[in-house]
């Protein structure tokens, strides 16, 4: 744990139903278990019905506000392409981007009234050349469980933070039903190896 008062700002975004709240909750517990002061905030409610979901996690020696200031996120973990664009202004100049390569079309796009922006991934890579882009659904399907998508990305994210893997393992074991522990631990390590690759 770093001794200075460095504050880590992690923004996790996506669409209702992608497991964002659980992933961010685990990260918050992990940071707390590691001894950090943690603040977290999310917007849900209407999000259950297909809206945007965003979860702010901030930790350090001392953190007061539960929300990240525009331009101050160290990591933007996005589960959906257009949500990455929406929340891009939160990213700091040297910030990391981790993107699940998935499109969830908003209704205006269904009708053809509005186009889904093309080349989102390319545009992000132009701005952030080292962005990590992973087709999470394929990885999750290969693991035989589409519901571990969020934990795969938690694994990738963990590689960019300074908290050791065993703290995540401990919190995952504590917060999941026993029968789901093994598959999620596997997904977490799959994510870590994807980040290293």
């Amino acid at each position: 744990m770093s001794e200075n008062n460095r504050v880590y700002n992690v923004l996790i975004v996506g669409v209702g139903g992608q497991g964002i709240i659980l992933a961010s909750d685990v990260l918050g517990r992990v940071a707390a278990a590691y001894g950090y002061d943690v603040k977290k905030n999310e917007i849900h409610g209407m999000a259950q019905r297909g809206g945007s979901v965003s979860s702010h996690i901030r930790f350090g020696k001392s953190v007061s506000s539960p929300i990240i200031t525009l331009g101050e996120a160290d990591v933007l973990l996005s589960f959906e392409q257009i949500e990455t664009i929406r929340y891009f202004p939160f990213l700091s100049e040297k910030g990391k981007v981790i993107l699940n390569d998935q499109k969830i079309l908003p209704p205006a796009v269904f009708t053809g009234k509005q186009d889904y922006p093309p080349d989102v991934v390319q545009k992000i890579k132009e701005k952030v050349p080292d962005a990590v882009v992973v087709d999470g659904i394929s990885v999750a399907q290969k693991m035989g469980n589409p519901r571990v998508l969020n934990v795969i990305f938690l694994g990738i994210l963990s590689k960019y933070l300074d908290i050791p893997a065993d703290v995540y393992e401990k919190v995952l074991k504590e917060s999941l039903k026993p029968k789901l522990v093994d598959v999620n631990l596997k997904a977490f390590h799959e994510g870590r190896s994807l980040a290293a690759a």
Binding site: A32, K39, G45, R49, G50, G51, S64, P107, F110
Partner: protein, 608 residues
């Protein structure tokens, strides 16, 4: 509050922390009506009760007025009691709330009122601290979840010490924020002894109310003078700095980080007020007098600012330096402080992508109900209400949304247009929980006044929007103990309604027939209000297995888009190259209603 086994760290949501504080204070009665962002207070109490084996009575009341009255009654009976609601709920509870301030309390009485600056999921940005001031009820304003726990306990102590109700006013960013929290040891159940008859107090007539008003004013004066939390406390900076900043509640957490992260602002004397009403006015004025300039940053109205008698050196909402609407997010707070300090502003890129429009879930029973209402009553005025089904706007089936229960009340007025034509029709829609909450008196009114409109009660057997809380139709209370279910049909009959039919909205033909009968009864035979109960459990909360039936779009599809524009089902996708309509199997619930509505009969069961 997910499972915690051997870990010492408790990572709690603000509302769960308030629930914990309620238990730690030895409170034994809690009543609430669900509403974002307050609902988790009572939900967490259900879990704390079990975990700590603490004897506390819990109920989801029929509405906030009743919740307040239950808590107030318990207080008179000697218990520590709490009522929890969102800010618009306090509007509903305002009558007993205002009166209770005069009468006072016995056991500590705390009213948790969650505000929603933004607003993110509410009708207004009202500041409940202002309501506290109006009602002369003391208000504690927590800045973080940990503070919310500690202030909950303080609120009970203050309430008992001064014998007044006390409001705890957390904002969304406290209610739904999470942090690591240290616990205290729960007190045994508090009891100030049984109810004692005293009609000049508990049943005071106007003559005694005047006396009680005087007593209340004395209590408030004493609190503002003697209670340390009525005074601003220096949080950071130097007391001799040229600029001061006074803040309170959730926004104080942003203020703290902004001044800490910018060296140019580190000097500012930042003060925080825990109890913005009744605040110590002399202490506020002292700060203003001893600095060249004082900035006020508070959510959402200028409560502290208006308390300062001489505001010539004050900047804030009244001077236009703080925006008059919208949430004070960290970057907004930063802009305000930097500008007030006369420093150069930091430019930040603002998000520009349009927000996603929320939709009713695939398979939601409200969708076919709205669809058929549009089919049978085209060109009607659709009076809507508060709940998931407000999203009927997406289908053109909701034209108005005012407040809880207003669909029925407003329908009674919408039919009174000065130049009513033969084909002017009004159809009101309301959910079951909202109907019990505030729809019943409006329906009695409509029947009695021979108002002619059709009312569709969308009965999904719970309060879906706020996370599936029970309604009075259920046979269990919040914590699973036994309740007497109240039949919706019997209530509707009891309101004097003669035409009432119950129908499954998935039943395409049945729903059409019932609505046509209602149309004839109300609009052709002019027999008054007709009520249709469209009954089917919420697809999200329903325990039923998801059907394995899957559907596909055949080549008969002529791309008329009816499935998207009229049915507005999120499972349909329009593909551009080559142009085609497809069904997203991950989204599709398998309800199959679209088979009925597709004009070219292109949707069919897969594999048949």
């Amino acid at each position: 509050m997910t499972k915690e086994h051997d870990s010492d760290v408790r990572f709690l949501m603000g509302n769960e922390a308030i629930g914990r504080g309620i238990i730690e204070a030895g409170c034994s009665v809690a009543a609430a009506y669900p509403g974002t962002p307050s609902s988790e207070v009572l939900e967490s109490l259900v879990r704390w009760k079990k975990e700590l084996v603490h004897p506390i009575y819990l109920e989801w009341s029929v509405n906030e007025k009743v919740a307040f009255e239950v808590a107030y009654g318990a207080s008179l009976a000697g218990a520590r009691a709490v009522a929890a609601m969102k800010m618009v709920g306090l509007n509903v509870a305002s009558d007993p709330f205002m009166s209770a301030a005069y009468l006072g309390v016995r056991g500590g009485l705390v009213v948790v009122v969650a505000d929603d600056p933004g607003p993110h999921s509410s009708q207004t940005e009202q500041d409940s601290r202002f309501f506290g001031w109006f009602a002369k009820v003391p208000v504690l304003d927590p800045g973080t979840p940990a503070e919310a726990l500690e202030m909950t306990i303080r609120a009970f102590e203050l309430s008992e010490k001064y014998q007044v109700p006390v409001m705890l006013r957390p904002c969304l960013r406290v209610c739904h924020a999470r942090q690591n929290i240290t616990f205290g040891v729960p007190l045994p159940v508090a009891d100030v002894g049984p109810f004692k008859r005293n009609w000049t107090r508990w049943a005071a007539i106007p003559r005694y109310r005047l006396v009680l008003h005087g007593e209340l004013n004395e209590k408030l004066k004493a609190m503002s003078k003697d209670e340390p939390q009525a005074k601003p406390v220096l949080m950071s900076g130097t007391p001799t700095a040229s600029m001061a900043l006074i803040t309170s509640g959730s926004v104080s957490s942003h203020v703290k980080d902004v001044v800490a992260s910018d060296d140019r602002l580190a000097d500012i004397a930042v003060y925080k007020v825990d109890m913005p009403f009744p605040v110590n006015v002399e202490a506020l004025q002292d700060i203003v007098d001893s600095h060249d300039k004082t900035l006020l940053i508070e959510e959402t109205y200028p409560v502290l600012e208006l308390h300062i008698p001489d505001r010539r050196k004050v900047v804030g909402r009244l001077s236009g330096d703080v925006p008059s609407q919208g949430e004070l997010t960290p970057e907004v707070v930063e802009d305000i402080i930097v500008a007030a300090a006369g420093k150069e502003s930091i430019s930040r890129q603002a998000p520009s992508v349009k927000p996603r429009r929320p939709s009713l879930c695939p398979g939601c029973p409200h969708r076919p109900a709205f669809y058929m209402i549009r089919q049978v009553f085209d060109k009607a005025v659709y009076a809507g209400d508060i709940g998931c089904y407000t999203l009927g706007t997406n289908m053109g089936a909701v034209d108005t949304c005012l407040c809880m229960g207003a669909s029925i009340g407003m329908a009674g007025g919408l039919i009174r247009a000065p130049h009513e034509t033969a084909d002017s029709r009004v159809v009101a829609t309301i959910g079951d929980s909202t109907f019990y909450h505030a729809g019943v008196p409006a329906l009695i009114n409509a029947v009695h006044t021979r108002a002619s409109f059709v009312l569709v009660i969308m009965d999904n057997n719970l309060a879906a929007m706020t996370g599936g809380q029970p309604t009075p139709a259920m046979d269990t209370l919040a914590d699973g103990s036994r309740a007497t279910p109240i039949s919706l049909e019997r209530v509707v009959h009891g309101c004097g309604v003669d035409f009432m039919e119950v129908v499954d909205p998935y039943d395409y033909t049945g729903m059409r027939e019932v609505l046509e009968k209602a149309n004839t009864y109300t609009f052709e035979e002019n027999k008054g209000v007709s009520v249709v109960i469209a009954r089917r459990p919420c697809v999200r909360a329903s325990q039923a297995e998801r059907t394995s039936l899957r559907y596909e779009v055949g080549e008969e599809c002529d791309l008329c888009m009816s499935c998207i524009t009229d049915l507005e089902c999120p499972a349909f996708r329009f593909v551009k190259d080559p142009k085609a309509m497809v069904i997203d199997e991950d989204q599709c619930s398998g309800c199959g209603y679209c088979v009925n509505t597709c004009p070219s009969k292109a949707v069919r069961l897969k594999g048949v």
